[in-house]
């Protein structure tokens, strides 16, 4: 099934590799945003099936962006997966407590990223 995924990450290389991965491997439609603020706007306009959200971004970081997504009735129900290079258990607990659907880790394998998302969201 074709899905529409929004990737919010301030790093161009991560955005492009993730988009390449999800488009080529899974055949999904991918839209991207380079900041939390842009991500909020894109999410409300495009209503994606899921959002892949970076944690550490300048300005509005991932957790703040997530809370703003949940405040907007248009985007409140969209599943959000955090994407982070933070692997310490204290960080992981903090992220899990936010209420996101899943936490995925960087670096990711471009061949299996879509499978990780499908598994986390019960799409497979």
């Amino acid at each position: 099934m074709t899905r529409k995924i929004l990737i919010i990450d301030d790093e161009d290389d991560i955005r492009e590799v993730a988009a390449l991965s999800l488009e080529s491997v899974a055949g999904w439609e991918v839209i991207t945003a380079g900041s939390g603020a842009e991500g909020l706007a894109r999410a409300a306009e495009q209503l994606p099936d899921a959002i892949l959200l970076d944690v550490m971004m300048p300005g509005m970081d991932g957790p703040t962006t997530f809370r703003e997504l949940r405040k907007n009735p248009l985007t409140a129900k969209i599943p959000v997966l955090l994407l982070t290079a933070k692997v310490q258990s204290t960080d992981q607990r903090r992220f899990a407590d936010l209420g996101v659907e899943a936490v995925l880790f960087k670096p990711f394998d471009p061949m299996t990223l879509s499978t990780q998302i499908e598994t986390a969201l019960g799409w497979s």
């Binding site: 790093e11 161009d12 290389d13 991560i14 492009e16 590799v17 390449l20 991965s21 080529s24 491997v25 550490m56 982070t84 290079a85 692997v87 310490q88 960087k106 670096p107 990711f108 394998d109 471009p110 061949m111």
Partner: protein
């Protein structure tokens, strides 16, 4: 059908691999810039002039390298960068020798990664 699926899978993997190589070439200047920040921080550490802002930049550069290098088949680079990030983010920070050695290794990995011939 299975062999068709396998063939499709191989083609997808080859296409992804080729696209990743193009992205590596395109983003190599950013990778180098991140390593340069770590090299400069190591020099500043050795000279006792590392500022708070410079330490923050080094933490951020190491964090970004940690999140990216493994995706480009540099798993050891991710491990090193993650360790360096934690050292810069921690209380005492790395010793100047450790910081310099790890930055040097990251430089060698980034510069030594095989890239396809131009064209």
């Amino acid at each position: 059908m299975d062999s068709l699926d396998q063939s499709d899978g191989r083609e997808t993997a080859a296409a992804i691999s080729a696209a990743l190589e193009r992205l590596w070439v395109r983003f190599l200047p950013e990778m180098r810039a991140r390593v340069e920040i770590l090299e400069a921080a190591a020099v500043a550490l050795a000279g006792g002039t590392l500022s708070g802002a410079q330490r923050e930049s080094a933490t951020s550069a190491a964090h970004k390298l940690a999140g990216t290098l493994g995706t480009f088949s540099l798993a050891r680079g991710t491990v090193l960068a993650r360790e360096l990030e934690q050292l810069y983010a921690g209380g005492d920070g790395p010793s100047s020798e450790t910081a310099a050695q790890m930055a040097k290794e990251l430089r060698e990995m980034v510069e030594g990664r095989t890239t396809p011939a131009a064209g």
